[in-house]
């Protein structure tokens, strides 16, 4: 009978046959060889990129283009429409970079928040028993998913917000909120001496909710009794700060926007560039998230719903306790890429003049200084890092909702 050779036998045989011609020299050692090739590859790559960078710098020098990062310390000399930190035209390009970065973060955060909200509402609405709601969800997804985002940004900016009345004919709500072609003007709360106590109370209320949730869950596990967590939480968030505010004698003054000369001043201003971009990003990405939610819910076998019904859960409880937690395993990885797309798509700000990082830095700063390579490099790094952070957080979240396998 044919006897199969074991692996050990084959190995020793080959070792014997080769030992005659090639000795156990160091260059035959697979570890050393591997190490050598790794080093060679790294050296090759270093040389490759080193030469590219060196060539670029030499060529730029030869054609008289300025290089280096000195421009970051130079005064920019132009103004930025909207800034979360104070900015004047005498400030530096470095500060412009920060201003643009914060504006990018702002519009991305607003976009992610509302896109998630819209996505979950319309994604779940797809399974509604109401024909109209189901169809509305379908129409929303199909329209906004299939129209290019740039067109949507233009639509909100030029078709919708540009047709609002001028500053002196503003639409107003109780002489406190004003809406015109230049933006949305809202009253601002300005805190007095004791106002920090109110914010502390609000923080305490939020912290209290977490404690309450944990307690209610434990109680339910032990006794089976349920506690109205949602209602209590809402009451806490409203009542805690309100009671403290009443005790300290309402340490706030309200600053109302008022028409002075050409514009409304005071209060909080939301510029139309931000509004149009945030709306477009939210609605567009929301349509994709709605599809992700739908896919997630559909991935749960119908048996789960039937099983839940058989133990007597109500329909809304089935959704929130049985279906959605399981669907999250499918939804979260999709959400991750939608959020990353949203951050990258926020660069369309340039189309309507919202001063995001891409617009103020790669747009204007690059043009005024001519230092294309430096500005583009810095901007790439920013988007890269922001998306890595999103990815990291979403992966952590994914681990939390993923099926724990043993």
């Amino acid at each position: 009978m044919f006897k199969q050779k074991t692996i050990e036998e084959v190995k020793s045989a080959s070792r014997k046959s080769s030992s005659g011609t090639t000795s156990n020299a160091f260059y035959n050692n697979p570890r050393i060889r591997g190490f050598f090739y790794q080093i060679a590859l790294i050296a090759g790559l270093l040389y490759f990129f080193g030469t590219i960078i060196g060539n670029t710098l030499a060529n730029m020098e030869a054609t008289g283009i300025k290089t280096g990062f000195d421009f970051l310390g130079a005064a920019a000399g132009y103004d930025v429409l909207m800034s979360l930190i104070s900015f004047e035209s005498t400030d530096t390009y470095g500060r412009i970079f920060v201003v643009g970065f914060l504006n990018t973060l702002l519009v991305s955060a607003i976009g992610i928040f509302f896109a998630t909200l819209l996505g979950f509402v319309f994604g779940v609405a797809h399974f509604s028993h109401n024909w109209l709601i189901r169809k509305v969800a379908l129409v929303y997804v199909e329209i906004f998913r299939n129209v290019p985002l740039l067109l949507q940004v233009f639509f909100w900016y030029f078709a919708v917000l540009s047709s609002l009345p001028g500053a002196r004919q503003s639409l107003s709500l109780g002489e406190a909120v004003f809406l015109n072609v230049r933006g949305l003007y809202m009253p601002k709360l300005i805190g007095g001496d004791l106002s920090s106590l109110v914010w502390i109370a609000l923080g305490a209320a939020v912290a209290g909710i977490f404690v309450l949730r944990r307690w209610a869950k434990k109680r339910q596990e032990l006794t089976g009794q349920q506690f109205p967590v949602l209602k209590t939480s809402i009451a806490m968030v409203i009542l805690f700060p309100l009671i403290v505010a009443a005790l300290t004698g309402f340490p706030f003054t309200v600053e109302y926007p008022a028409l002075k000369g050409f514009n409304y001043f005071g209060g909080i201003t939301v510029i139309p560039e931000l509004m149009s971009l945030a709306i477009a990003l939210s609605v567009y990405t929301g349509a994709f998230i709605a599809e992700a939610v739908r896919a997630g819910v559909q991935s749960i076998p119908h048996g789960q719903t039937e099983a839940a019904r058989s133990i007597g859960l109500r329909e809304n409880k089935i959704m929130s306790l049985i279906i959605v937690p399981q669907a999250m395993r499918v939804i979260v990885p999709l959400l991750n890429s939608e959020y990353q797309s949203l951050v990258k798509n926020s660069t369309l700000a340039a189309a309507v003049g919202y001063p995001d990082l891409f617009n103020v830095f790669v747009g204007t700063a690059l043009n005024q200084t001519g230092q294309a390579i430096e500005t583009i490099f810095m901007t790439i790094i920013v988007y890269f890092v922001v998306n890595m952070v999103i990815s990291f957080l979403m992966n952590r979240f994914n681990n939390a909702v993923a099926l724990v396998s043993r």
């Binding site: 054609t63 008289g64 000399g77 009345p165 189309a351 043009n367 200084t369």
Partner: protein, 338 residues
């Protein structure tokens, strides 16, 4: 396998050795048979495309003049519409041979962008346009107003200086194209539009009702506009520079598109030098002797180009002002053609 490795190696080698290659733009243009010229995305009087796709304007005439001088055909131009933000990158990357896009000659641009300004074909200054019903008659009344500005322009810097100098505040709403600034201005997003005076005149006639807007008297900056070339190709720089000078010189000598052939044969020595029937001017540039003759017969002298595009024969109706020849009290002055 060996072939593949060889290919990879040669590509790598090519990358490594691609050092400072200074392409001769003149040779490129000649072998291509067309001049690639960067212009604006549409600005009445300077560079604008009509319904037949034909470009015209003062800046377009600059492109046509160079094409006439180099290729003998003023129509052998491929126009590349560029926003203010794109223009220098397009030039530096070699996408265009020259830039003729109402570009202000500034010290920073000239010294740090790797470009050279080949002269000035329009002396301008930044100014303001407001709607009449705003009731503003001077820029000093614009404290707290919103401004529509094109992003990446020297005006963006000039207006920041002006408001700071006068202790006033403003909000800068920036757009990519000058057409978008006009839309923003018309929709009421801003109280005033700021740009070079000539551009304001062009944008004003593009308004739904031009009579509703006025241009304020203040001129807040110097904006000499001119053609731009890449640094490091002196021959090409000379060609563009002297194409512009030939148009200015022709006006000084009263040589026009109509009388150029007559002057070439029967003119005075200066006429003959300019038009190539005497002297070496074309040869020194690496061009044919009738380089300037082609410019003048096909494009016209500076005065003809000015009046046709932005002057009294155009909807803009701009006066010559300081853009008149030095002989007529302006500051246009071509160096000596000899």
């Amino acid at each position: 396998m060996a072939k593949k490795a060889l290919l990879t190696a040669s590509i790598l080698a090519a990358t490594m050795t691609a050092g400072a290659v200074q392409a001769a733009t003149l040779d490129d243009v000649k072998s291509r048979g067309t001049l690639t010229c960067g212009v604006s995305t549409g600005l009445a009087g300077f560079s604008q495309k009509d319904e037949n796709g034909k470009w015209s304007g003062l800046d377009v005439d600059m492109c046509r003049a160079v094409a006439a001088a180099v290729l003998g055909d003023s129509e052998a131009v491929q126009y590349k519409p560029l926003t203010a933000k794109e223009r220098f990158t397009a030039l530096a990357s070699g996408e265009i041979d020259m830039l003729s896009r109402n570009t202000t000659w500034t010290h920073t641009r000239d010294t740090s962008l790797g470009i050279n300004f080949a002269g000035t074909n329009y002396y301008d200054g930044a100014s303001f346009m407001v709607m009449k019903d705003l009731g503003v008659s001077s820029a000093t009344q614009l404290d707290g107003a919103n401004a529509c500005i094109q992003a990446g322009t020297s005006t963006e810097l000039a207006i920041a200086d002006y408001f700071r100098e006068n202790g006033m505040s403003y909000k800068a709403v920036t757009f990519d194209t000058s057409d978008q600034t006009r839309q923003g201005f018309e929709s009421g997003r801003c109280d005033f539009l700021t740009s070079d005076g000539s551009q304001l005149a062009a944008l004003r006639i593009g308004l739904a009702n031009p009579g509703n807007a006025v241009i304020l008297p203040e001129v807040i900056s110097k904006e000499p506009l001119g053609p731009v070339v890449r640094q490091g190709d002196d021959q090409w720089f000379n060609i563009v520079k002297w194409s512009l000078n030939a148009m200015i010189e022709a006006e000084e000598q009263k040589v026009t598109s109509a009388n150029a052939s007559d002057m070439k044969a029967n003119g005075n020595p200066a006429n003959k030098r300019l038009l190539g029937s005497e002297g070496e001017l074309g040869g020194n540039l690496g061009l044919s002797a009738d380089w300037a003759y082609n410019i003048i017969t096909q494009v016209g002298n500076y005065s003809e180009s000015f009046e046709r595009n932005v002057g009294m024969d155009s909807p803009l109706k701009l006066a010559r002002g300081i853009n008149a020849s030095w002989r007529d009290g302006g500051i246009l002055y071509a160096p000596a053609m000899r």
